[in-house]
Amino acid sequence: MSTDLRQLPARRPDVSLQDDGDDTVLVTPSGTTYVLNPTARAIWELCDGTTTIDELVTAIAEVFAVDRATATHDVTATIDQFRAAGLVESTHR
């Protein structure tokens, strides 16, 4: 199933981000924690409800000098994980 790149993922406001030494951790209201790698953290910060997945993919491809297919896979996989964990919701532009 292909992801619609026009989606605008939005962080759930009740999930908080904490810097714990070298790790970045998301904490849900129920106390569940998720450790983020640096790229996942940056994607999380841009799940602001105004940035499309397509814009994220383009920027990630530029910074990491990877092809668009790789960037699309990485970004959508990360956001799918956020969504499966109930950390983000998506709307459309």
């Binding site: 640096p38 940056a42 910060e45 994220l56 383009t58 920027a59 990630i60 530029e62 910074v63």
Partner: protein
């Protein structure tokens, strides 16, 4: 063993950093340089895999990245910026550096950034990655908006706008395009209205903000071909 050229015009810092990196078992500083020319010469002579550029070399980063891009295999570039700043990082990424290190992790942090750069990874300090992506996205949005506004201009108006961006006044524009100063002024007023800006300075600033000069050149190339 990763071989690197270290470029820093400040001798004391260059020597201290080079000695520290040389003491790492898997790193070898094969040349220590203090300007663009000597850096490129040493890269050519030694075939080093990585060039570590200090912040004092920042203004030369675009030139160095452009020149090393032509080499095969291409040396990887790492900028060490002791005063990290989101603008510096954006400039460095747009110039084409492979890595940006801040020195916050001390000598071991710099050594690790060199290793990652040599492995082909893009090195960006984790806390700076989000703001960098945000700026890149905003820049693309500005460019897309600029391209859209440019569509509203006629071919002649694009020519006039290009001359405005070059800093020409009404009389100079008239002379360049063999039109009367009055006609040039009319074009300029129409351009300001279509771009929805209030002054020539705003129009020129808009071009810079959205990378419109590039769009304009491409639009002119297309209309000329």
């Amino acid at each position: 063993m990763t071989r690197l050229v270290l470029a820093d015009p400040r001798r004391l810092l260059r020597e201290a950093l080079a000695d520290g990196l040389d003491a790492q078992p898997d790193l070898e500083v094969v040349a220590r340089t203090d300007d663009v020319t000597s850096t490129l010469l040493q890269l050519e002579r030694t075939g080093a895999e990585v060039v570590l550029l200090s912040a004092a070399m920042r203004s030369s980063v675009p030139q160095i990245c452009e020149l090393v891009r032509r080499r095969t295999p291409r040396p990887r570039t790492l900028l060490l910026d002791h005063t990290p700043d989101d603008d510096h990082l954006l400039e460095a990424v747009e110039a084409g550096v492979d890595g940006y290190a801040t020195g916050a992790g001390g000598l071991e942090g710099v050594a690790e950034a060199i290793r990652a750069t040599a492995r082909g990874e893009s090195v960006v300090p984790p806390a700076m990655l989000g703001p960098l992506l945000r700026r890149l996205i905003q820049r693309r949005r500005d460019a897309a908006e600029a391209a859209e506004r440019l569509q509203a201009l006629t071919r002649r108006e694009r020519e006039v706008y290009g001359l405005m961006i070059d800093g020409q006044d009404d009389d100079a524009i008239a002379a360049t395009l063999f039109i009367s100063p009055e006609t040039a002024r009319t074009h300029v007023h129409r351009i300001l209205r279509k771009l929805d800006v209030h002054s020539r300075a705003d129009a020129v600033a808009l071009a810079a903000r959205g990378g419109m000069a590039d769009h304009l050149e491409r639009a002119l190339e297309r209309s000329a071909s």
